[in-house]
């Protein structure tokens, strides 16, 4: 409990002051990244929290902070995940208009799951759905729809959440189509949409979706991996590992946030 008490006062001060501008946020972010790279996590947390406080809706800064927490905490130091969750909770309370802050809050819950027991994992997973929903209420986005849709698919079939996942993933695909700027990572929504039908035990429909996805994104590894498993048992085995709640789900958004050839951040997608 001690770390949470110590950090919350300065964070509140940061959030309340709102004095830091975007330029300051950028500098703090770069310093935070450097500290994280050097495994100086306390410094990294301080810098990155300050960067996010300066730009609450900055998906990249929040993501960098969460990834630093994962690097420091692994699957053991729950208190660091709690610090991160509390930070974003405070952030959204102070900035209820920041859709990406809600996304980061949702991801922070997902990040903590491997460090928790089975029942707490369920509670975290369910809470993440709520925060993904908050983000989507503020702003429709491919990332929000894909993330929530994918998250629904981790729920065992008996809980009946696969249909909600399918609906979100179809919406994500529609958003990508409307934007007219296909990105390689959009293939993930096709893979996950097929997974949704697999969850519903409609493997024919799943293969149909994956095949359509492969037509749009030829060579995509995830789609190929599914379609190459022609036997039901090998497909089940593959997807059961994919949806093993005990394994960490990648939330670094690396493909989405990306950096250009010069090493500069590309614009975060909406």
């Amino acid at each position: 409990m001690k770390p949470r008490c110590l950090w919350i006062v300065p964070v509140l001060a940061l959030l309340g002051a709102g004095a830091l501008g975007a330029a300051d946020g950028r500098g703090l972010y770069e310093e935070g990244l450097a500290a994280a790279e050097a495994a100086d996590y306390e410094a990294a947390f301080a810098k990155l929290e300050a960067a996010v406080a300066a730009e609450p809706d900055n998906l990249r800064y929040g993501t960098a902070y969460r990834q630093a927490v994962i690097a420091a905490a692994g699957d053991e130091k729950k208190e660091l995940y709690e610090r991160c969750i509390d930070f974003f909770k405070t952030l959204v309370a102070a900035h209820p208009e920041a859709a990406n802050a809600y996304l980061n809050l949702a991801f922070a819950h997902v990040d903590k799951i491997p460090a928790e027991g089975a029942i707490t994992q369920v509670i975290l997973a369910n809470t993440s759905l709520t925060y993904f929903g908050n983000a989507l209420e503020l702003e429709e986005s491919w990332l929000g729809r894909y993330s929530r849709g994918h998250a629904y698919l981790f729920w065992p079939t008996i809980f009946g959440r696969a249909a909600s996942g399918i609906a979100d993933l179809e919406k994500a695909i529609a958003i990508a189509r409307e934007n007219g700027d296909p990105k390689p990572y959009h293939a993930r929504a096709w893979a996950a949409l097929g997974d949704g039908y697999w969850r519903l035990d409609d493997v024919d429909k799943a293969r149909e979706v994956w095949t359509r996805g492969r037509e749009l994104f030829p060579g995509d590894g995830e789609l190929e991996a599914r379609l190459s498993r022609t036997g039901r048992e090998e497909l089940d085995a593959y997807l059961e590992v994919h949806y093993d709640t005990g394994q960490r789900v990648a939330t670094h958004l690396r493909e989405i946030l990306g950096r250009d050839a010069a090493g500069h951040d590309e614009p975060a997608p909406r």
Binding site: E116, G117, A118, I119, T120, V122, I123, N126, T127, P156, T157, I158, F159, G160, D244, T245, G246
Partner: protein, 604 residues
């Protein structure tokens, strides 16, 4: 003092002429692979009992309490009458429901079926389910070292201890309930128990696994009695440790030594406790399986007190620990620990097979060995069912098999993910009605392949029933060298599996008797050397959820046709080595052999 040779002769005679025939058959069939098979003979053997859980009344959530207390289908295996055949004590838990003491008639080698006779009434041991107590576990132990097994009955309440008085003039066995007289007076919601000699003073101590905190569920003043967290609960009953002591007048009894033994800080929801010498130092260590939170490993300090080494030895866990049994599954000379947890569609915890690294640490190899998934696990026991020299595992499972509707989605929506819910409150849980919760699960039999992996063979072996298993009593009830199982089921009929494996390997069973050590030799460690290989076993005093198995040690010897040596480290440290002499093996194979501390092989 008897010499070895006559004793040996007597033993061969005592175990029946069929021993030679069996050995001949074994040699002839040594090249054939065993086909592991069991036949279910509960009805024919007269040991089919329908367990009944306690029904709750009153203003509190009746069904919720029933859900949380539907264990108690226990079985205790022990030869209470000393006739060389293991007997059965089987519990029930509802108000007024009687438990059953079943005397084994044995003698199947001459073609008679294995059969039991109920002797509960004459023995006076059927009670315990009074209006404010629930029978939940049972254990045979010779607490006073008089050579007769006494019967401990664990309850949600105060314990019962039936002292074995021996046969009366009519030949019927008598017992006297002496719990209060001997100091077993502490209230607890006890679901597991083991008896062992923690301080190696020659007298058994008693360790109890308590589930709920010590409040009477049948007379509640609050609804906040359930786990305060479903992964990290710390408001359970912990353990109770009774040290065996001499009371005034020289009688044997017990004193509550939980705090003095260093165990009072553990307040988890204990479902089982198991003991063994895990670090080969001659002192019994303890593993506590905790529901809703971490298991605990306590190493013996060498004086009957314990040190909690959980963090460094196994780490803290959040699983739903149900069962503890110890066995040397890979024959490396260190006992390993098997713990069942919950694995189901909605919760994939995986069991623990704690491989003993031999350096005070353990590594979970349940996934690697193929023993991870037993669904909603309960009792699981080690035993070499085909006598191939490798210990197999039989695990029972299943929580509640009822109607088609599944309780889990309802529980999830109304309780688990409900913001701000108080998990400790009975009122936070919906009634289960006729719904099923992790029911109709198939039992698992893991055949040890001898290469660090197991193969699940329950269906082929004929033991893949889908009843709601709880306790599991293992023994060789017909003395034919093949292990048998009694499976106690919650609210359902019990099952009794007789081992009928064909082409099983050679075997040896040892019944040890302590003289300066505790009479049942609980904690004695035996190494058997045969065919250039070595096997390790320890006599345990009740390992395994809600059940205790035979006090005999069973060794599968595979193709080894001759035992070269038997080495016994008695509790207290004395080591006896029985080796071949004048070309004669120290003990026969394919026989039940009795060994007494300081005297070697003895006749019955």
């Amino acid at each position: 003092m008897r010499t070895l040779a006559p004793s040996f002769l007597l033993l061969v005679l005592a175990t029946g002429a069929a021993a030679n025939e069996i050995q001949d058959a074994k040699e002839a069939a040594s090249a054939k692979a065993a086909t592991i098979r069991f036949e279910e003979i509960g009805e024919a053997a007269g040991v089919r009992f329908v367990h009944s859980t306690r029904k709750f009344a009153g203003r509190h959530k009746r069904q919720v309490l029933e859900m949380f207390t539907d264990g108690g289908a226990a079985v205790a295996v022990g030869d209470f009458d000393g006739d060389g055949y293991d007997d059965l004590f089987v519990t029930s838990s509802d108000a007024g429901a009687a438990s059953h003491l079943m005397r084994n008639g044995g003698k199947t080698r001459d073609g008679k079926p294995l059969s039991f006779t109920e002797v509960t009434a004459a023995a006076g041991v059927g009670g315990g389910n009074d209006p404010l107590s629930i029978v939940a576990d049972a254990l045979w132990l010779d607490y006073d070292n008089d050579g007769r097994l006494d019967l401990y009955v664990g309850r949600f309440g105060t314990p019962l201890l039936y002292r074995n008085e021996g046969p009366g003039e009519d030949g019927a066995w008598r017992f006297t309930e002496v719990a209060a007289e001997v100091g077993l007076t502490k209230f607890g919601n006890t679901i597991g128990a083991v008896a062992f000699d923690a301080d190696n003073d020659g007298w058994l101590d008693l360790m109890l696994a308590n589930y709920f905190q010590p409040l009477n569920l049948l007379d509640l003043e609050t609804t906040k009695v359930l786990p305060n967290d479903l992964d990290y609960a710390d408001n359970g009953g912990g353990v109770t440790f009774y040290r065996g002591v001499e009371l005034e007048g020289g009688r044997r009894g017990f004193v509550d030594a939980t705090a003095q033994a260093g165990l009072a800080h553990h307040t988890g929801w204990s479902l089982d406790v198991g003991h063994a010498d895990l670090d080969n130092d001659g002192w019994q260590d303890v593993y506590v399986a905790g529901d809703y939170g971490t298991d605990r490993l306590f190493m013996n300090n060498g004086d009957g007190t314990f040190k909690d080494v959980t963090e460094q030895a196994i780490g803290f866990d959040t699983r739903k620990g149900m069962n503890v049994d110890m066995g040397d599954y890979n024959r490396d000379g260190f006992l390993d620990v098997y713990v069942t947890n919950i694995t189901d569609e909605y919760m994939k915890e995986c069991n623990f097979l704690w491989h003993n690294n031999g350096d005070g640490t353990f590594i979970d190899l349940s996934k690697e060995t193929g023993t991870c998934d037993t669904d909603w696990g309960w009792a699981a026991k080690w035993g070499d069912v085909d006598n191939d020299g490798w210990e197999d595992l039989f695990a029972v499972n299943g929580l509640r098999s009822a109607g088609e509707q599944n309780y889990i989605p309802l529980l999830l929506e109304t309780t688990i993910i409900k913001p701000g819910v108080d998990f400790s409150d009975l009122d936070s849980y919906p009634d289960i009605g006729d719904m099923t919760w992790s029911g109709y699960q198939k039992q698992r039999l893991f055949h040890n392949l001898g290469e660090g992996t197991f193969k699940e063979i329950a269906a082929a072996a004929g033991v893949d029933n889908d009843l709601d298993g709880r306790g599991l009593g293992m023994g060789d009830f017909d003395n034919d060298g093949r292990l048998d199982f009694f499976q106690a089921n919650a609210n359902q009929p019990s099952l009794f599996y007789r081992g009928v494996t064909e082409n099983a390997g050679n075997w040896l069973e040892l019944k040890l008797t302590g003289t300066t050590s505790n009479r049942s030799a609980i904690g004695a460690r035996v190494r058997v050397e045969a065919g250039g290989e070595t096997w390790l076993r320890e006599v345990n005093g009740g390992n395994g959820y809600s059940s205790s198995s035979t006090l005999r040690l069973h060794f599968g010897l595979g193709a080894a046709a001759r035992v070269e040596a038997v080495e016994i480290r008695w509790p207290g440290g004395k080591v006896e080595r029985l080796a071949a002499k004048d070309g004669q093996p120290p003990v026969p194979i394919n026989a039940v052999v009795r060994i007494e501390e300081g005297r070697g092989v003895v006749a019955r």
